[in-house]
Symmetry: C2
């Protein structure tokens, strides 16, 4: 929608599927688990029945349509499928809206604010949460809001949109806190929920958040039926339980595990850490593991330290500030989670991945200093910023505990 | 020397040393281990004797002056200390050389080629090895040479420089393979050797490559004498033995361990993986662990696969090619080492660090696909390139072994 990608066809992750036969134009409408068949609709009147040995349900998620009066008027869109984006693009081309309101301050809402701003549309984000991007700490969310404003996006937080009206060619959005704004385009981006109708009717079980239950082999519990992706729950590697955490990377992993197991393999999903990253204008924001508040709700004793460092040696041109938030457990010293925020080009995403890899292995925060990471002045420091952030965590924990310096250098 | 850093003072890693008292202008000339004293020279005629409880020798390395006839003529320099760089800079400012020959194709030689090219000097590298940057595979070295040539640097490999003559204001460098070239500046960058005189005279022991022996606590073996940095050997985490591998990151880690232990701690150096990165013009080249040939000389069964991938989704503007070389053990499936080469800005360095972190933990190559790494189209793919490279390794190993597809997806 920003116009940065010339051909939508290039958006497909893959177009060739070695050894996989794709049946197009058939909508699965019924699964008979006992009979091991799937009924698929070929047209409005024509059905076909497919037999299976193993079945994998990857029905994904569907966007949440919020309970807002008037979401069905023209000019109001959700964004989930390629088809949704075609509808928005056609509308953009036809109406050439000057102003847009995006309801929702999560990843999709923010990415759309970026895209529409690049097209020259005046964008306002109306977010229900007190800061945008609620998947990161509020301090980070506030910095994200600053980046939005720096690029001309208006941000209204703690706004519960409750109605949209259409008068002539103008949409008016009403919300809590006296929010009232005219525009020509409204995008709804308030999240997704698992698409489970087919499986539910076949007797599959879902969890508290409505996603298919599964084990780490991606077995649904129904005989020979596997589930994977945004319709299914996810094993969380740190919390050691299943939850609903729909992410593209997780879907790819679950699909691979389920695919192997349907073919007779015995793979287990290693678990998600909830690793996420987004680029917003010239900023990159990433997280992995648990935030302080998330860890505090679990059986952890979180301790969190924020650090600000240069991404590389200040004397080399182009150094930018990198902000890290490291959460570890005060009792065990283990890393629990981290957030990074910095400039696009400052290797924020793959620095976060060093922390995600550390988290995968259950490393202690202090142990991060033992990693043999790469250094050259244009790209880092002899201690990489992730190690400096870890050292700051250890130092602050030690100071708080009143320990002499040498007892906290390597953790308690 | 490139002029990119305005003030040389900013090159110092640190200028403040909490709780550390620095005695300047005193050259340690003698250590008496039995008497626990150090004699330091204050001036040509004045000595002072310092007593110690614990001694840490961090005497670093000194540049190798190659056995070349005429290295002592004006206009020939080594580059190791800040003082060396002042001498070169003064010469550059005074003589304004049009042409330079750099003898040595390692990190320093290449970085100086980059710096002098930026100053407008015509640079020729004369490297003894068949490709430049011999710390990476020859295929990568050839790509590095291409980057040099693209930026106007001439590259002469397999050249053993044996003489330098000065006629009027012109230096002539002679080498094997009929190498003969005129220039106004010669830089010698053929490596370093440990600076151990002080310790040797005090009775400390050195290993095969002349560096101080040490254990993982950085104890030298002499009572209460510790060693760290480029004067000492390094514990290699994969090879599980000490060797000489002088690197800035390692020195920082060893210094920290030695510092803690002199203060009564009991830290052990976790070991080096030989992780290195360099930026050369617009290219970044990094390595960690063992190359194929290095692994083959040890008790490993290396298997190596090279992959070329986009650094991020091709549909998002600015995607560049990333080249990965993954070496793993055919018998155990463990990762042994990796090299990455790609564009500056493609997060090459921190991608390598994900592999370095995996290597630290002894991960299997196939297990890399289990890592929950961050993804957004401008920065990666749902499988990060490091995971795609790992998957290519597993697939090729499986094909070679004649295994059916499903048996090699997760390794053998």
């Amino acid at each position: 929608l920003s116009g940065e990608t010339a051909d939508w066809r290039s958006l497909a992750h893959r177009t060739q599927f070695d050894g996989i036969h794709i049946l197009k134009g058939r909508r699965a409408i019924r699964v008979d688990v006992a009979g091991r068949t799937v009924d698929a609709q070929l047209s409005e009147t024509k059905l076909t029945t497919l037999s299976y040995d193993k079945l994998l349900l990857g029905t994904g998620a569907i966007p949440v349509w919020p309970a807002i009066h008037g979401v069905d008027v023209p000019g109001v869109f959700v964004l989930h499928t390629i088809g949704d984006s075609f509808a928005v693009r056609e509308y953009l081309d036809a109406v050439n809206p000057r102003r847009a309101v995006i309801i929702g301050g999560g990843y999709i809402g923010l990415e759309m604010a970026d895209a529409l701003t690049r097209r020259g549309v005046e964008v306002t984000i109306a977010s229900r949460t007190p800061t945008v991007l609620p998947t990161v700490d509020t301090e980070f969310g506030a910095l994200v809001a600053e980046e939005l404003k720096r690029n001309g996006v208006k941000v209204s937080t703690s706004v519960d949109a409750h109605a949209i009206s259409l008068t002539q060619n103008t949409l008016r959005v009403f919300g809590s806190n006296d929010f009232e704004l005219d525009c020509e385009l409204v995008l709804l981006a308030v999240g997704v929920r698992p698409n489970t109708r087919l499986g539910l009717e076949a007797g599959l079980k879902v969890g508290a958040q409505g996603a298919f239950l599964t084990n780490r082999r991606m077995e649904s519990g129904a005989p020979d039926v596997y589930v994977a992706g945004d319709c299914a729950e996810t094993w969380h590697r740190l919390l050691k339980r299943h939850m609903y955490l729909p992410l593209g990377t997780t879907s790819h992993k679950q699909g691979r595990i389920a695919g192997e197991n349907t073919m007779g393999g015995s793979s287990e999903f290693a678990g998600s850490l909830g690793t996420q990253v987004m680029k917003l204008f010239d900023l990159v924001i990433a997280r992995t593991g648990l935030r302080h508040d998330e860890a505090a709700r679990e059986a952890f004793q979180p301790f969190t330290v924020e650090s600000v460092m240069n991404d590389h040696k200040a004397y080399y041109p182009g150094a930018t500030q990198l902000r890290a938030c490291v959460t570890g457990d005060r009792d065990t010293g283990k890393l629990l989670g981290a957030q990074l925020l910095g400039a696009w080009g400052a290797e924020v995403s793959k620095r976060l991945d060093v922390l995600a890899t550390a988290l995968y292995h259950g490393m202690g925060v202090a142990e991060l200093s033992d990693l043999d990471l790469s250094y050259t002045p244009p790209l880092s420091s002899p201690w990489d910023p992730v190690q400096m952030a870890a050292q700051a965590w250890s130092a602050k924990l030690g100071t708080q505990a009143g320990l002499p310096a040498r007892d906290f250098i390597k953790g308690r």
